[in-house]
């Protein structure tokens, strides 16, 4: 037997060297392999589904693009086939799009919230925090390792999502293939692209970790994460995102269809005439005879604006041009990274001071 009743070794009271960080890799893997496997299966299943519905879509798009002459009825048929392909995933509000929007919070809530909440709920923190590794280093190593892995997985998955949507934004799209039913602005899928998507996974995970440490119970922490995340998504999409860069304002009636239009108003003689769309009475007064654009094709705001312009109205449009798409992605990714770092710091602070 080893005799441990040795006299205090020289330097015994000196600070003990911290254990190397890499030791947490195996610990984290063993403890969270089920959660990580679950995330892998979930994203894997979604990837297979995207591939299955994406390949016919790409084929139909390629066929329609290659068709000559474009005005022939055969080509129109191919265009129609392409546009009819997709009724599940056409936009963020379709069932498929909604599911994809929910992926980050599902991963964040179910992988992030239990990390600390389960330790608190089952009492295993009393084991973990009294080992030589030290409790705040233990928590930091775990959270950072998991955050990096989940964010990377999200980034890989978002590449596939972008591949799926690519026909809708392809520069080679023919004029005849105007996607009337779809919004063609790249901002429409903003959340699902390569920067924003993994960033939202990261933020969901760190919200989950902090909620778990605050609430100390798994299920309430998951619910709190879902609620907090939904609030952040709504606030970001509804209030914050449009202000990342100062919107452009134009009086041109030909705002590109790919722009993200934030607001429209019209002036006459230097004074505000109306905000948004003109009233029906105004249209009837000036434009009842109807220039081109009215009639059997129905009502076009563009045509109305042209008509009103002839009567001295100036239409103003504030918008974010499509060219700002990537700067916006990086701005969103940037503040989310910063906020995630703050949330992790707050979590570690709680771990350090938490009394039992």
């Amino acid at each position: 037997m080893t005799a441990l009743t040795r006299p205090a070794r020289p330097g015994d009271d000196a600070a003990v060297r911290p254990l190397p960080w890499r030791r947490m890799a195996g610990v984290t893997w063993r403890q969270h392999r089920f959660a990580l496997a679950g995330v892998a299966e979930f994203l894997g299943a979604l990837s297979v589904w995207l591939l299955l519905i994406g390949m016919p879509l790409h084929h139909a798009y390629a066929a329609a693009l290659a068709c000559h002459p474009a005005s022939s009825s055969a080509c129109a048929g191919l265009d129609g086939a392409f546009q009819g392909m997709d009724n599940l995933m056409a936009g963020p509000l379709t069932p498929g799009g909604t599911l994809l929007q929910a992926v980050p919070v599902l991963i964040g809530a179910f992988a992030g919230a239990p990390v600390l909440a389960r330790e608190m709920e089952t009492g295993t923190f009393r084991y973990a925090w009294t080992q030589g590794f030290g409790r705040w280093r233990w928590a930091l190593a775990k959270l950072v390792a998991l955050a990096v892995v989940l964010t990377a997985a999200g980034a890989a998955f978002s590449v596939l999502v972008s591949w799926y949507y690519q026909p809708y934004f392809a520069t080679g799209r023919k004029q005849s293939m105007v996607l009337g039913a779809y919004q063609t602005s790249p901002f429409t899928w903003f959340n699902l692209r390569e920067v924003a998507f993994p960033a939202w996974i990261l933020i969901a995970f760190t919200i989950g970790a902090l909620a778990g440490m605050l609430i100390r119970r798994v299920v309430p922490a998951i619910i709190a994460t879902l609620v907090a995340y939904a609030g952040l998504v709504v606030a970001t999409g509804g209030l914050l995102r449009e202000h990342y860069l100062t919107p452009l304002v134009t009086t041109s009636l030909n705002v590109p269809g790919t722009a993200w239009i934030l607001g429209q108003w019209s002036t006459k003689d230097g004074r505000l005439a109306f905000a948004g769309h003109p009233s029906l009475s105004l249209i009837n007064r000036f434009c009842s005879s109807g220039p081109a654009g009215f009639g059997k094709e129905g009502f076009s705001f563009q045509a109305v604006a042209q008509c009103l312009a002839q009567h001295g109205y100036t239409q103003w449009t504030s918008y974010q041009p499509a060219s700002r798409f990537w700067p916006f992605e990086w701005i969103e990714g940037g503040w989310q990274l910063a906020l995630s770092a703050l949330l992790i710091a707050a979590t570690i602070w709680l771990v350090r001071r938490r009394a039992t």
Partner: protein, 242 residues
Amino acid sequence: MNVVEASGLGKRYGGTWALRECTLAIPAGRVAALVGPNGAGKSTLLNLAVGLSAPSEGVVTVLGGRAAGSPAALDQIAFVAQDTPLYKNLSVADMIYVTRSLNWRFDQPYAQARLDELGIPVKRRAGKLSGGQQAQLALTLALARRPRLLVLDEPVAMLDPVARHDFMATVLASAAADGVSVLLSSHVLAELERVADYLVLLSRGQVRLAGAVDDLLTTHGRASLEDLAMAYLRETTPEVTR
């Protein structure tokens, strides 16, 4: 050297003091029993000593003046908490791996040999072990760290008599063979009779009595530790007598 030294130590939860004005010095090389009724502040004192919680007032140091919960203290203290928390979904082998990874010292051959001796299969998940086996696993992991101080919070409360006996035998064997100082809390007095040679009696968050068991018995003219403890608890805890 004292393994635990407290001075004016207190811990308040909300408006209630769980421990108050606690001053004591537990010498090294002992099996010290922390005794008192439920709610006396035993777990609070142990949590403070291992650094899981921070004092509301006063100071507690361990192993000759190291701050409780500091890296130097954690390196040499092994703690088995109440109800022996383990990661229930990890296998025994994984628990060994995790404990080895989180500490500088880990005596793998010792852990292996003890688990073999106990008949605990390393591939089984910790949650599938019996209560006695879980307690033994937690104790084995703690002892394999080769600590200088072993702290046990109500280690046998949930165990049947046989498991209780086996557990205590292991603790005593390491105390004797490896010179590990032991601090354990219990409200089961009979269990401590055979093992403890140092006593700290707590009630209502205050230290009532502390000292070597032999000295205390002589001074107070009592035949057994149980007698002594009961006498003190009756004096200081009226509700026990009624």
